[in-house]
């Protein structure tokens, strides 16, 4: 495992590279973390998966996006565009490091960034999405809501959020749950959707649920259809486990780790 700083257009990004163990380099994955506290809560699961990938012959590069984790810059300096550029930069690094097939692996809102980056890269890269956020405006709404937690129970949360949105529209940074959010990040996030990138893209879509999921959830079915109509292939798997990016205590989802390896190793049926 190597930790290093990758020079970016502005500043540098903290990266961790797990080389594939053994002689067989099956592929390389670039991991894109989710937004704010979800990044921190999911660290353990991601570390466990990265280790499992390495043991299975896949290299993994983790990058802290601008203003996040140990990368340079404050969160207040982060813009959506800078995050998309971080992903394309990291892909280039991985391509130089290994000629094995490159994947982008995203968790939650990381998938929204991944999709935009994939659109800018050729050829079509295979994607591994964990519990993808379908809609950046919902991610933003759920994040802004944190500011109004105290007001929520008195039914006056709306005023707090309206005030935040007004500030953002006026070009001012806002503070939510200890994070300073710039308008350029909020607007990019708000516009982001999980739209299919290039035709021919392979998407492995995995989710966890505390209950057994037998049917395709309607929102997933709609997205899957949209991607297939755009000439992409989508395989969806749901396993039992906690929403580890969200739970109050740090949790693990071991079934997700094995299902993820299977998703990459199992050939897609024609």
């Amino acid at each position: 495992m190597e930790a290093f700083f990758l020079p970016a257009a502005v500043g540098q990004r903290f990266c961790i590279y797990h080389a594939a163990s053994g002689p067989l380099a099956r592929g390389s994955l670039l991991y894109i973390h989710p937004f704010a506290e979800e990044m921190n809560k999911s660290r353990r699961m991601v570390a466990l998966q990265a280790r499992a990938f390495s043991n299975a012959g896949y290299a993994v590069l983790q990058i802290d996006l601008m203003g996040c984790g140990d990368s340079s810059g404050d969160f207040a300096d982060a813009t959506w565009e800078s995050w998309v550029q971080d992903v394309t930069l990291a892909c280039e690094w991985l391509r130089h490091r290994s000629s094995s097939p490159l994947w982008i692996w995203g968790l939650r809102s990381g998938c929204l960034i991944a999709v935009e980056a994939a659109r800018r890269l050729k050829p079509a890269l295979p994607l591994l999405f964990w519990q993808p956020s379908l809609d950046g405006s919902q991610v933003l709404r759920q994040f802004l809501r944190l500011k109004s937690a105290a007001e929520m129970l008195s039914g006056s949360a709306g005023g707090v959020v309206d005030s935040l949105r007004r500030d953002l529209v006026e070009g001012k940074n806002v503070e939510v749950a200890g994070y300073e959010l710039a308008p350029e990040l909020a607007s990019g996030l708000e516009r982001a959707t999980l739209a299919p990138p290039h035709p021919g893209t392979r998407l492995e879509w995995l989710e966890v649920s505390s209950r057994e999921v037998t049917d395709l959830p309607p929102v997933v079915a709609r997205a899957k259809l949209q991607w297939e109509q755009a000439g992409c292939s989508v395989r969806y798997v749901s396993v039992q486990g906690p929403a580890f990016w969200q739970t109050i205590e740090i949790e693990e989802a071991p079934d997700l780790i094995s299902a993820t390896l299977t998703a990459l190793l199992e050939p897609v049926e024609a």
Partner: protein
Amino acid sequence: MDHMTQVLGILDEVLGLNGRAAAYTKESPLLGAVPELDSMAVVSLITAVEDRFGIVVGDDEIDAATFGTVGSFVDFVERKLSM
């Protein structure tokens, strides 16, 4: 799985109750009775039901009464689902 069972599962998981929610009934009090249910946990619960049920909760749609009992919370979710 019915909505009540799903909501109990979400309560248990988000609040980290380790199975305690399985014993809850519609009358079981939540706010003020479950120590894990603070304002931040309320926000997490709303996000969780939005994600799991595919509903959108407006910022002014909930108040303390929504989380009075398990029943009031389930009723809220079902009202949103029927919209």
